[in-house]
């Protein structure tokens, strides 16, 4: 951690793109769990995620990026699932 002598004047950030270094996943109280067998690959979770924490490759969603997922639960809410079974469920962290 920086001391008061090392901080930039006015808290100006001079390194572009440095927000990547801020792992906001540590804020999470609830953790989304992906259940691939219930996933229809609609990518609604990817559209709704405010933190770009759904990794998509070749038009298919993969695992969550837990470094940045704040656990807001929007993806779980929007997930249509398959035949009434959600493909994303929220679980309390630390359990």
């Amino acid at each position: 951690m920086k001391t008061w002598k090392e901080v930039t004047p006015g808290a100006v950030i001079t390194e572009p793109g440095s927000s990547r270094k801020f792992k906001t996943g540590s804020w999470r109280a609830f953790r989304p769990r992906w259940i691939p067998e219930n996933c229809i690959q609609c990518l609604l979770c990817w559209i709704y995620c405010p933190d770009m924490a759904i990794k998509v490759k070749d038009s298919k969603r993969g695992e969550f990026d837990y470094d940045y997922c704040k656990g807001c639960g929007l993806c779980a809410l929007e997930c249509p699932g398959k035949k009434g079974n959600k493909a994303i469920v929220m679980e309390e962290e630390g359990k």
Binding site: M1, W4, T8, P9, A11, P16
Partner: protein
């Protein structure tokens, strides 16, 4: 080259702004600072400055525009007063926290309610802890000189903080006084070219302003701000020295008037210091060793210099043109008392609240205070630590 002219304090401030030629001015004019903007917008319309004039819908927005423009990398100046300064309060912290060297003229005026448009220091005292540098001016000449120096102080590479330059509303802002102009070429050379630090418009070096800083780092930024503030007096004196070369007028952190051998003294800021000096001269003629201390730099407060200036005095009266409600003393008294408490050798100090809402401060008020101080110096007894003067009992 240095013309003597007759000008109002507002005219002096507006012309200092013209000479500085700011890139942007965000403003919402308010009495008694209106004339500053009335004159400055004429300079803009007449092409005498290259300023982008942003006429905002409130002082909060005016200061916000100033902050955005300063972060973008421009020299920025504005002016306000009273309720306007109060309405800017939230943004004042942001300007200083972002270390933006904005310069603002303030025609010091009373605060509402009851509504009053006349001069006192309530507005500036409400903003004293906003992290801005505060200079106070006795007359139009000092307002002009302080305003010119304010650009240099704010933009000093060891400082980079906003500066507000106070003068008494109406008393100084509207009175036509004799003053000495500095020719534009000399004055603008003194102020110099603006050098931006981390400008947002430098797209080759992208920067972000205003990040969220929480429990883990906030105190470090506050300590850094406090540290920068502690270096301000050095920069103020450095700029004053250079200013003396072009003007012949010498400025310090404070002005001592017949203080070195004084036994009784009045501490007072801005226009009232002039009246007080006259009365001190009369008392000196009658053999009373009286003096005046007039703080110029109020934030950061020059504690060490004040201590040195007052420690030998027997009795001191601090005259506040604002009050801190809640049974406390006036704001200037609090700082003077805090400065002197750290000295083993110190005067007895009393506090007078005067001139609120533009109430006249007459020579007789200074005379009565000096008479009381002479008595306190003689018998060491204080009858009243804080008292309103010039009020109907």
């Amino acid at each position: 080259m240095h013309r003597k002219i007759a000008a109002t304090g507002n005219e002096a401030v507006a012309n200092a702004m013209r000479i500085a030629n700011p890139d942007v001015c965000g403003a919402y004019p308010i009495t008694p600072a209106t004339e500053i903007m009335q004159r400055f917008t004429s300079f803009v319309s007449n092409g005498q400055v290259n300023t982008e004039m942003v006429l905002a819908e409130s002082e909060h927005s005016a200061m916000s525009a100033c902050i955005g423009a300063a972060a973008a990398g421009g020299r920025v100046a504005t002016a306000t007063s009273s309720q306007g300064l109060a309405f800017m309060w939230e943004m004042l912290f942001i300007a200083s926290g972002l270390r933006l060297p904005i310069v603002m003229g303030v025609a010091n005026r009373a605060l509402s309610a009851p509504i009053n448009i006349h001069g006192d220091h309530s507005d500036a005292m409400g903003a004293r802890d906003c992290g801005w540098i505060q200079l106070f001016s006795e007359n139009a000449q000092e307002a002009f000189d302080n305003m010119l120096q304010a650009f240099r102080i704010a933009e000093h590479m060891d400082v980079r903080l906003p500066v507000m330059v106070g003068m008494d509303g109406f008393i100084t802002s509207h009175s036509i006084q004799t003053m000495e102009w500095i020719d534009d070429e000399t004055a603008s050379k003194f102020i110099g070219e603006y050098k931006a630090v981390s400008p947002m418009l430098d797209i080759k070096h992208p920067v972000s302003y205003g990040p969220l800083i929480l429990t883990d780092m906030y105190m470090e930024y506050r300590k850094a701000h406090e540290h920068v503030m502690s270096g301000v007096p050095k920069a103020v004196l450095e700029v004053a020295k250079e200013f003396e070369k072009i003007s012949g007028r010498s400025y310090g952190l404070l002005e001592k008037y017949k203080l070195d051998d004084a036994e009784v003294a009045i501490v007072v800021m801005s226009s009232a210091a002039g009246t007080t000096k006259e009365v001190v001269d009369q008392f000196r003629e009658n053999g009373v060793k009286a003096g005046v201390l007039k703080p110029r730099l109020f934030r950061p407060f020059p504690y060490a210099e004040i201590r040195e200036a007052l420690k030998h005095v027997k009795a001191v009266a601090v005259l506040d043109r604002a009050d801190c409600f809640g049974g406390s003393h006036g704001p200037l008294y609090l700082d003077i008392a805090a400065a002197m408490y750290q000295s083993a050798e110190r005067p007895l100090i009393i506090n007078k609240i005067f001139g609120l809402g533009g109430r006249d401060y007459m020579p007789v008020h200074a005379e009565n205070v000096l008479k009381e101080l002479v008595q306190i110096a003689k018998d060491g007894k204080i009858n009243s630590a804080k008292e309103y003067i010039g009020v109907r009992e």
